[in-house]
Subunit: 331 residues, 2 copies
């Protein structure tokens, strides 16, 4: 512990949805939950850069990544830690703007609970033919589309971080078989088997649900490309809770239009917000949700700050931080 | 056991969906799963009454309720047991057509697994604002409707039979509080508390989800009527997997149109099939599914016949049958 207060600057962006805003009120609530740790801090809260340059001159810790990150070494000479308030930091890659000696962490761990609930919904909706039933309702058409027990179906989950593990757990609770795919073949708590990406082509024909839960990196860009979409069964479905560019969306739309895939639920699209003129809106058997799968609408900031305070404890004790982003891996 | 073969007639209706048809193939498969019991049987399979009158003259057991049930005592002098292949027998009430000494059973127990999966979907869809998100997609409108963790919300479940218990179990798995309401205050495995119907008015204001899983009887007809719908919170939702007349659908539609309820998912409507001209199809925040919530699309008959064979064992041993319909209760 240090006897001098640690300068923390929290940087908010007004163009983000309000659930992500670290307001004074939310900060005060978090501070009162973590009294002992919070006593060491001197905190400023800024919006859209209004007090950023002044704050950077003395800040050791920055929560929230500013719009401009160039020349940070000169602008923030005392900076030791930058924390991103999202799990995906793909928009910040490559991390060549990160000064040497500054640790960069992401918000991994804040999304699993909601992601698991969304995935229960996604698996059961797709299995129950809900995309078609929704379309039928719009067409005022009664058509009894039955479905069997979902147990025994196979979910192939790409990425086994916070989101992927939540997707795997939700799948197991519904009785699904779970095959995980990740960069390494490291085991998972909920997947029955884990394979490296290199095995993806051989695994895709077995999947009833293909779930994208990977970080977006050069390696996962267009991971589910046109050729791989064609390896899927015509009765299978796609669920993307990662980032839009990990799937070839045009090819996915084409497969859906041609009846070569049963359905898809996309929580991420490109661009967001999706413009009214996008051809994605009315692709048959495609359900679009507006990037709401993983973030708690009431408590996202509370959950995030609790995780951050946990890491602050490590920071103050000189221990390695959790959730460090590896500049080479990109997540 | 008897040394004379027992005459069983299976009566099918072609106007029912094919998943309900007890075909020769499905019968043969069930017979091979229950060899010892099946040896005692001599079985006929009829369609729309084609061989009904002849079969009734000698049948001891009838599986499937014929379109015409008048004068059964004379038409089927040896009849001892009629088994309905659905759980709800409301269409057959009152049971004044049932000859004295003939036991009438329903198909309770064949629906819980699917109902539980449907309910996981229904809770998570309603909690995630999916009815509005679906409407937004149709309007090509991106609107980030976030939702918090579903855990801690309250499901009020009316009826705690096969369907209601499945609804309660699904709710508990999502971390919901579960209040059950049934004819008696008998305990339930998954409900945190159980109350008689007479307490409904006091419980409705506490519910985030009101689930109808009751049998349709004179007592449950219009159970969720206009006055009771008005006792619900404006953020609450209705899920009906029972029978349409247990809810005042016109009042429900009105509450939804006026924004006095957040949403509803109806798996049952009146009439079914719902005609294209029905005003229900485009009620805001109402999702209609075509009576598919509880019946396994691949194995409904298999599951049903396995339950029936279990009861046949009791019948052959002279034991009381399970799933007897009580003529006074009506289920």
């Amino acid at each position: 512990m240090t006897y001098r207060k640690i300068r923390v600057h929290i940087e908010n962006a007004r163009n983000k949805a309000s659930i992500y805003h670290i307001t004074q009120e939310r900060w005060d609530a978090a501070r009162s939950r973590h009294g002992a740790l919070a006593r060491n801090l001197q905190v400023t809260i800024g919006w859209d850069g209004d007090i950023l340059e002044d704050a950077l001159r003395t800040a050791s810790i920055l929560v929230g990544v500013p719009a401009r990150c160039d020349n940070l070494a000169a602008r923030a000479p005392a900076l030791r830690w930058i924390h991103a308030t999202s799990a995906g930091v793909d928009g910040l890659l490559p991390l060549d703007w990160l000064p040497r000696g500054v640790t960069f962490t992401n918000n991994r761990g804040a999304h699993g609970v909601k992601a698991g609930q969304y995935m229960r919904m996604a698996y059961t909706m797709l299995h129950s033919h809900m995309p078609q039933i929704i379309a039928n309702q719009h067409a005022r058409r009664w058509e009894q589309l039955f479905s069997p027990n979902i147990a025994g179906r196979t979910a192939l989950i790409a990425g086994l971080g916070d989101l992927g593990e939540a997707a795997a757990r939700a799948a197991k609770e519904l009785g699904l078989k779970v095959i995980g795919v990740r960069r390494t073949a490291r085991k998972s708590r909920y997947a029955d088997a884990v394979h490296p990406y290199s095995r993806l082509d051989r695994l895709l024909p077995r999947a009833d649900f293909v779930v994208l839960a990977v970080p977006l990196t050069p390696e996962t860009h267009q991971l589910l490309n046109r050729e791989r979409l064609k390896l899927m069964k015509p009765t299978a479905s796609v669920i993307n809770i990662s980032r839009a560019p990990v799937v070839d969306c045009a090819a996915l739309a084409e497969q859906l239009r041609r009846g070569k895939l049963a359905g898809a639920i996309l929580d991420v699209v490109d661009p967001e917000p999706l413009p009214a003129g996008s051809p994605l809106w009315d692709v048959p058997n495609l359900v679009i949700t507006p990037h709401i799968s993983c973030d708690d609408g009431d408590h996202y900031v509370d959950i995030s700050l609790d995780l951050w305070f946990e890491n602050l404890g490590r920071f103050l004790q000189g221990k390695p931080l959790k959730n460090r982003v590896d500049p080479r891996r990109g997540y």
